[in-house]
Amino acid sequence: MSLLSVRDLTVKFAMRDQTVTALNGISFDLAKGERLGIVGESGAGKSITGFSLMNLLSRPGYIDNGQILFEGEDVVQMNDKRLRNLRGNRMAMIFQDPMVTLNPVLTIGQQMIETLMAHRKLSREEARQIAIVKLREVYIPSPEERLEQYPHELSGGMRQRIIIAIALLLDPQLIIADEPTTALDVTIQADIMELMLELCQSNQVGLILITHDLGVVSQMTERTLVMYAGRIIESGRTREIINDPQHPYTQGLINALPQQTLPGQRLKQIPGNMPGLASIPTGCAFNPRCKYATDLCRSRVPETVHYGEVEVACHEVQRLNSDEDRQEARA
């Protein structure tokens, strides 16, 4: 049985004059200890997916339809008490900006001990010992002293380590990391990613990594979902998606990487912007930006089909592929 199984998840936002659909029938599975990347531009619904998995959407967002089975239990149907038992305890989340994620008026120790004591029957001293062990695991030097410090006394990388330690405090089965390194500088990014990879592997913890950094995804994850305008448009093994993307959008994303461009040339960006949720085009949401778009793409939402090694939602995937073959043949 998979650890997490999302079926046909639909999330809507009730705005004043209309209801917009932020997630449209998302389905995916995650095995125990598996690492999954979710990529896409801003506004694709990546973070909304993360929040929905914990059933943490706040007004005006709500889960309209679908199932989120976590260890066999449906998170959507859980009452508040069971949700509180789930959050932090069996499923943890790491946010983007470590500068604002820790409560500024409580010491690191107070925050860690509080978290432990809220979920487990422990004495303060036992909780403190666990906190110290967890801080050691994330390579924080002299953890006893750190416990007495406030967040503002620590650097960004240190704080993100502490946040990871807090996420691991209760030995969750799944960690959802929402752009965990975007706010950090590049050298520390690599450290933090390495640390997360190591911790996930050694503790058999599942990871959902939400990011727009394809480089990070390729290093960290085993499988990848590519999202666009609230739908999964391509999914499969990370290696296949990075090396041989099928959907024109995924191809565009990879071609837009600075590494794909020679010095002095312009970056090959995808023309246009992600549509707003209120104005998603009919048919395939990507059609206005897609150079392969046909009348069919403008009128019907593509089904997800198995093509090559991946699942892809594109009408023109076959033509596209033969087109590519021709290009390759010519080259």
């Binding site: 007004r59 946010f95 994620t101 409560n103 500024p104 008026v105 509080e114 979920h119 807090i166």
Partner: protein
Amino acid sequence: MSTEMLNPKQQPSRWSKAWNSNMGYSFRRNPVAVVSMVVFLLIAAASFLAPLIAPYDPYDPAQIDIMNSEYPPVWINDSLPEFLLGTDDQGRDLLSTILYGTRLSLLIGICAVALQAFLGISIGLIAGYVGGRLDSLLMRLADIQLSFSTLMVAIIFLAVTQAMFGSETFNRYAIVFLIAVIGVAEWPQYARTVRATVLAEKKKEYVDSARVLGFGPMRIMVRHILPNSLSPIFVISTVQVANAIISEASLSFLGLGMPPSQPSLGSLISSGFDYIFSGSWWITAIPGVVLVVLVLVINLLGDWMRDVLNPKLYKG
């Protein structure tokens, strides 16, 4: 090797932490704040130690002699040296009466503000955190409460209770009634400020991360949001203590507060008011000066605190 070398960083004491903090520094650098604090502490200490340092007990009828009434303070002719600030119309030593009266005024002020703060903070937290209809309802209640002036509510309430319980019972429990009415009349000040801060705080990511860790709404409100909303609460509290003391004095002056047998500063001022034109100005003037000084120093401290805690002034 000594233990001190193993632990080079001695944990600083709470006092030295406070003294070396931003607030401590700005306090030391601000002479107005220092003087106000000293004056306030003097008045507070003197009044709370009144039973020990006052030369007479103004509540003990055996020590009062009506023949001693209306002696002027010692620096005026015809005074008696044992009455430093003179006596009032009933022959009580004015110094002792002022000390006891200040004690009552401060007690009522602080307790009323504690009640206001309790009501206002709870309501403001709930309104801000829960939001939606409950928020609208609570804030409209606050608007309604604010549209009555404090004094009007207090006068109606105290007059009705005085009529209901008779003046003897009323006088006995006057402190409780005053605290209750001043406390209840001013809660919206707190509720509105707290709600505004909570609305700003609850959007911050540490609140999301607390929810992600599985904390319940009570814990998030009290332990995470409230401590981050404290600075405006401190600022209003100082101003509100001064306001509550003034409200109490006004009510007592109108005869709806402390009875003349247990005078607060307001009732002392009021009882001396009848004698002001017969020459005994000191019965009104001296408690009046004490009241003004007390309220002034509290307000000056509040001003200083508002400047220090104003995020626009110290954050970039």
